[in-house]
Amino acid sequence: MFEAIAFYLFAFLTIAMFYIAVTTSQALYALSSLAAGMIFISAFFFILGADFLGAIQIVVYSGAVMALYAFGMMFFDTTRDVKEKQGNKAIIIGLSVISAALVVLIVAAPIVGNNIEALYPITEGAGNTQEVGMVLFTKYLVPFEVAAVMLLVAMIAGIVLAGKKMDLSLTLMNEAEIMLMKEEDKKVLS
């Protein structure tokens, strides 16, 4: 019973939050409600016994990602009212309603595959984090490492893209200008 109440409560909250996040014209509202929605989602994780994920969700999303976005908002100065020209709303609403309806229609039907054997069963008695760690560092070792590479890539990408070096474009300058710049650069260095 508790589970049901919690589910419906958080379901309502997440839906509401995310709805606000995609409809409001205030960027700040959107960001806040997004962050709230993320936190509410972590609640589901806790309900579902995925404590580790719940923690990660809060830390990564509500912490890191939201911080990044907040920084971005400040940078872009989008705290003000954001004006968005809307084209044909009917298309948007139509498409999303249809897709939602269709998926819900099918998903609401019970899944038959209930007799599925768990490949990596949740072991009784062990904590969620432990279990996750176990699987993560055996079976999912390679993806984990690749994910590390991915984060590295993202980091390099972020640094490069946001870096000052991008301000001047060698692509657009002609050769003479580049040479000149190099000369000046050397002077500065020496």
């Binding site: 298309i91 498409l95 999303s96 249809i98 269709l102 998926v103």
Partner: protein
């Protein structure tokens, strides 16, 4: 003997090529003399062959080389000199020699002198191939060859629009007939397996009647074109645009008789299908009177003679159609002589009158041109068939054939035509040589032709007079190969009544013509007289409106249809379809490229839309999955 055969055949070619060497250079006498000599050589060889055939009765058959050989088809260049072909050879070489010599004078002042002789000799060569070939394919070579030379010669004065038009008309009309001929040849090949005369005719005896009938019809269609039989006759009168020697040689003596020759050559075939023969005869009779009627009023000497030729060809076809092949051939020969003479005479007149052709503008020329007058008069007499001239023996014989074969209608028609023939011949003679000297009104200064031209014509004159006397010799000779049927009216009384009656009728016609056209009342018609406005006259002078009909209902529609085919169908439908298909793609691209608006939001919407579309399909299919059995059947029915 083969040597003579080849000499007879190829010396005109040598002459032609020789003249062709000078084709582009200014006039040189030699370009006329050498071909004439070569023709003389050819004539000589032909004569030797004639003598040989006459005396020994042997025929010569040679095969020079293979022409086409594929599958079962085998066509050689083979030549045969038998009684029939040697007759034709004689006629051809003789008349052409005369014409060549004559033309040296006639074409004296023409820029295209050299070219002319080249063409003329080439024509003779083609004609020789036509008559000497031993198979239908070879015949066809000659057949088309003479067509080509005729085209060249009719259009000889190509700067004249009418001449080139007439040349093309002649060629195309002949082509129509040639198609018939070609089909006939195909039929012969596929039914007999060969195109050699001897083989093919031997095999024909075993063929069923309908096949033979078709063969007969198609071959005759070919003959109709070349011999200008109705309805393919219009080209002949227009062909008079060519130089007069050409008319004499091609359009009187030789080429136009090729049709008759073909029928005679194929006598074994036509003997098997008498109903076609009767048709040929009937058509011949019709053409005889039809052409004669047009000759009555025409105001162009050459055209009158051309119609006369047409009419006489009709006679020949009557004879050939009725099975009297030797008679046809005999008339062909006789006709060649006097008709060529007539034409050459007309040529002299034209020469004298600066190419004026309207006899009403002449009159009284006899004083200036005695020689010509005599020759033309005699030729006309021969044409009219007065005893003892050649025409009497050959033409009256045809009347007899008609009578003996009990085709009285044909007989009557021919008899009447004989009268008309006499009338129009002497109408011309009278208008040209007698009566008032109307030419003075028009400022002409007529003069007689060169002597040598007259001399050159004289052999023809002689033959026109005496050819009839060879009748029996000739009969003996050709009946080696042709059915030897004597046509005699057995009842002497009837015979005499007929002969004398005919003679009288003809003479009366002559006198009437003479009387009517030597009178002082003859004026240059100016379109005002009652006669000129009568329907009959208009009908005749307009050639029964047949050329008009052809122009309006065949030529014009053809031209217009061509135009429609090109502009409407080819461009607007066929090509436009192709371009249209290409355009559909291009336009689709142009219309739908807005999908790529460059706006990210639109792109995302497209992506979602695509997913939603797939989802809808998935749901439809998912729902339908319950009926999957039926659906599979349906889809496999679609072939997916």
């Amino acid at each position: 003997m083969e040597l003579f055969l080849y000499t007879a055949l190829f010396s005109p070619l040598v002459g032609s090529l020789f003249a062709a060497l000078f084709g582009a250079s200014p006039k040189t006498k030699i370009a006329g003399v050498v071909p004439s000599i070569m023709l003389g050589v050819s004539l000589l060889s032909s004569t030797i062959l004639l003598v040989l055939v006459l005396t020994t009765g042997h025929t010569i058959h040679v095969e020079m080389m293979t022409w086409m050989a594929t599958g079962n088809l085998y066509i050689p260049f083979g030549f045969v000199v038998d009684q029939v072909s040697v007759t034709m050879m004689m006629v051809v070489t003789l008349v052409s020699t005369v014409v060549h010599v004559y033309a040296i004078g006639y074409m004296d002042h023409d820029k295209g002198f050299n070219r002319f002789f080249s063409y003329l000799s080439a024509f003779v060569f083609s004609m020789m191939i036509l008559v000497m070939s031993d198979n239908f394919a070879g015949l066809f070579i000659g057949w088309e060859g003479v067509g080509l030379c005729s085209w060249l010669l009719i259009g000889f004065w190509y700067h004249k629009e009418s001449a080139s038009w007439a040349a093309n008309e002649a060629f195309i009309m002949n082509r129509i007939a040639d198609l018939g001929m070609l089909i006939g040849i195909f039929l012969i090949y596929w039914n007999t397996g060969t195109l050699q005369y001897d083989g093919a005719f031997a095999a024909m005896a075993n063929l069923d009647a309908s096949t033979l009938t078709w063969i007969g019809i198609f071959l005759f269609v070919g003959a109709m074109g070349k011999s200008a039989q109705f309805p393919l006759h219009t080209w002949l009168a227009d062909a008079m645009e060519g130089p007069t020697p050409v008319s004499a040689l091609i359009h009187a003596a030789t080429m136009v008789t090729a049709g008759v020759y073909l029928v005679v050559r194929a006598n074994e075939l036509y003997a098997l299908i008498p109903h076609i023969g009767l048709f040929i005869a009937s058509l011949g009779a019709f053409v005889a009177i039809f052409a004669a009627s047009m000759a009555l009023v025409n105001r162009d000497i050459k055209r009158v003679i051309a119609y006369s030729t047409l009419s006489q060809l009709g006679y020949m076809f009557v004879a050939a159609g009725l099975g009297a092949y030797w008679v046809a051939l005999f008339h062909l020969m006789a006709h060649a002589f006097f008709k060529a003479l007539l034409f050459l005479g007309a040529g002299n007149v034209m020469h004298a009158m600066d190419s004026e052709l309207d006899p009403f503008k002449m009159g009284g020329l006899g004083k200036k041109m005695k020689g010509t007058m005599i020759m033309m008069t005699l030729a006309s007499v021969a044409l009219a068939g007065i005893y003892p001239f050649a025409g009497f023996f050959s033409k009256d014989l045809i009347l007899e054939v008609g009578f003996v074969e009990h085709h009285y209608i044909i007989y009557t028609v021919l008899l009447f035509t004989a009268g008309l023939t006499a009338f129009y011949s002497f109408r011309i003679v009278a208008l040209i040589f007698h009566g008032e000297e109307r030419y003075k009104l028009f400022g002409f200064h007529p003069h007689e032709a060169y002597k040598f031209m007259l001399v050159a014509m004289s052999p023809l004159l002689v033959l026109a007079i005496i050819a009839g006397s060879f009748k029996m010799t000739y009969f003996d000779m050709v009946t080696y190969v042709l059915p030897a049927t004597e046509y005699h009216v057995h009842n002497h009384l009837v015979y005499w009544i007929m002969t004398i009656g005919t003679q009288l009728f003809v003479i009366l016609s002559i006198f009437y013509a003479y009387k009517k056209y030597t009178s002082r009342d003859v004026k240059v018609p100016d379109g005002t007289s009652a006669m000129e406005n009568s329907f009959k006259y208009k009908l005749l002078i307009n050639q029964y409106y047949i050329p008009y009909f052809y122009e309006e209902y065949l030529v014009k529609p053809y031209r217009e249809l061509s135009e429609i085919f090109w502009t409407k169908i080819d461009q607007k439908i066929v090509d436009a379809t192709v371009d249209g298909i290409a355009n559909v793609f291009y336009q689709t691209g142009e219309k739908t490229r807005v999908m790529q608006s460059g706006n990210l939001s639109t792109m995302l919407k497209w992506m979602v839309a695509g997913t939603v579309a797939l989802l809808s399909l998935a749901v439809v299919f998912g729902l339908a999955a319950r009926h999957s059995g039926e659906i599979k059947i349906f889809l496999s029915g679609l072939g997916v």
